[in-house]
C-alpha cells in the first residue's frame, strides 16, 4: 500500500466549472433499499424525513427511490455528469450517517477519489517570465571569447558607458 502503488491524479475540474456559471455535478441519485430489513433502517429514516427537502433544494438532481427486496442492505447510487457512477453502501447506517453520505455525494464532482499530486492547478505557470541563463545578462557577452577578463554583469552595472541595451548592442544584421 505504498503511495507509488496507489492511483494518483492531478487536480482538475469538469468543463472549467466555476467560470461563467456553476453546475452541480451530481446528475441523479437512486436509493435502493428494502422496506422491511433492519439494515435499511437509516435509509428509510432519511427518505421519510430529509429526502423531500433535499429534492426541493436541488432541482437539478433527479431523485429515484426504489424499494427492492433484493437490496436488504441498501445501496445509494450517485451518477455524475461526467458519466461516473458511485455506489454508496449504507448498510446499518443511521439517519445522520446517510445524510452525511448524501451530502458528500452532492458536493463531489464525480472524478475519481484518488491521491492528488499537487495542491493547485494552473495553465499559466509564470507571469513575469521563466528564468533562462540569459536573463539580465548584457548582450555584449555574445561576441566575447571565453575565458576573458572582461567585466562580469555586476561590474558592468556600475559602468554606464558599456552597451547594455538590446537595441544598441544587437548590431549583427541577418542576411
Amino acid at each position: 500500500m505504498t503511495s507509488r502503488s496507489m492511483p494518483s491524479a492531478f487536480l482538475k475540474s469538469i468543463l472549467q466549472n466555476g467560470i461563467g456559471r456553476y453546475v452541480c455535478q451530481l446528475q441523479r441519485i437512486t436509493f435502493l433499499f428494502s422496506k422491511s430489513s433492519g439494515l435499511s433502517r437509516g435509509v428509510r429514516d432519511f427518505i421519510e424525513n430529509d429526502l423531500v427537502d433535499f429534492a426541493r433544494k436541488n432541482p437539478g438532481v433527479v431523485v429515484y427511490v426504489k424499494p427492492d427486496p433484493n437490496h436488504k442492505s441498501p445501496l445509494v447510487v450517485a451518477e455524475y455528469l461526467n458519466g461516473n457512477k458511485k455506489d454508496i453502501e449504507c448498510q446499518s447506517m443511521n439517519r445522520e450517517q446517510v445524510q452525511k453520505e448524501v451530502e458528500l455525494a452532492r458536493t463531489q464532482s464525480g472524478l475519481d477519489v484518488v491521491r492528488l499530486r499537487k495542491w493547485m492547478h494552473t495553465d499559466n505557470p509564470t507571469i513575469q517570465g521563466l528564468w533562462t541563463p540569459f536573463t539580465n545578462k548584457p548582450t555584449y557577452l555574445n561576441v566575447e571569447t571565453f575565458p576573458s577578463k572582461n567585466p562580469t554583469w555586476k561590474y558592468a552595472e556600475r559602468r554606464p558607458t558599456l552597451k547594455l541595451d538590446n537595441e544598441i548592442s544587437a548590431d549583427k544584421k541577418l542576411s
Partner: protein, 215 residues
C-alpha cells in the same frame, strides 16, 4: 547565537503564542505586531513570525490595516523622494491602463498559494460555504503583473486587492491508514481516516491604484 534565539522564539511561539504576542506588543515596540481579530490562532502564529522578519523598517504596529511608512524607508535607505514617487506613478499608470495578467500570493488555510485567474487550489479543510458560492480571499501577501510586484508586509490592504474564488468541490481524500507497530511488544495502532478537501476556482484578481504613497 541569533539563530538559536530565533529557534527558541519559534518554539515558544508554538507553546505560548498568545502570551508572546502580548509580550512583543508591550515590551518590544520596535518589532511590534498584534493580531487581526478574524485570524485563527494557528494562522496568527505564522503571520507573527513573518512580521518579525519583515518589520525591519517599520516602527508602526500592525493592527489589521497594514500601511508602510514610505518616508521612513526612504530615510533609512537614503532613496530620493522623486525616485519613489516616479515608481509609484509608473505602477499606478500600469494598473489603470492595462496590467495584463495578474498573479497573487494568497494565504488560505495556513498555506500560501501563488495563483492567477482561472487557477484551481486545494485545501485540506471543510469550508462552510456551499458549492457554487463565491468567497473572497482576504489575506493577500503579494500581487504582481508582468511589469510590477507589490509585496505586503505581511499582507496587502483589503481596499487595494480583491481576490474572489468559487467553491467548486467539497470532497474527501481516499482512505488513508495510519499504522504503527512494535515487534514482540504487543503494540499495534491502526487508524483509518479521510481528510476533507475543498477545491476553489480563482475567479478574479483586481487591484486599485496606490493612494498617498502608502501600500
Amino acid at each position: 547565537m541569533a539563530a538559536s534565539t530565533g529557534k527558541s522564539l519559534l518554539r515558544l511561539f508554538r507553546t505560548h503564542s498568545s502570551f508572546l504576542q502580548n509580550y512583543i506588543h508591550f515590551k518590544l515596540p520596535g518589532l511590534a505586531c498584534s493580531i487581526h481579530q478574524s485570524w485563527s490562532v494557528r494562522s496568527a502564529r505564522y503571520i507573527n513570525t513573518s512580521c518579525l522578519i519583515h518589520n525591519r523598517f517599520s516602527s508602526r504596529s500592525y493592527s489589521g490595516n497594514p500601511s508602510i511608512d514610505v518616508e521612513d524607508i526612504e530615510r533609512r535607505l537614503s532613496i530620493p523622494q522623486e525616485k519613489t514617487n516616479a515608481v509609484i506613478e509608473k505602477v499606478n499608470t500600469d494598473i489603470l491602463t492595462n496590467p495584463g495578467r495578474l498573479f497573487a500570493v494568497v494565504y488560505f488555510n495556513r498555506k500560501q498559494y501563488k495563483v492567477t485567474v482561472e487557477d484551481l487550489i486545494l485545501s485540506i479543510e471543510h469550508i462552510e460555504a456551499d458549492i457554487g458560492e463565491k468567497i473572497r480571499l482576504e489575506k493577500i501577501m503579494m500581487v504582481g503583473s508582468n511589469d510590477f510586484s507589490l509585496i505586503g508586509r505581511p499582507l496587502l490592504s483589503r481596499d487595494m486587492v480583491e481576490v474572489w474564488a468559487t467553491v467548486i468541490e467539497k470532497t474527501t481524500t481516499p482512505k488513508q491508514i495510519y499504522f504503527k507497530m512494535k515487534r514482540r511488544k504487543g503494540y499495534k495502532k491502526w487508524v483509518e481516516y479521510k481528510d476533507n478537501l475543498s477545491v476553489l476556482r480563482i475567479n478574479s484578481i483586481e487591484i486599485t491604484p496606490l493612494k498617498d504613497r502608502r501600500l
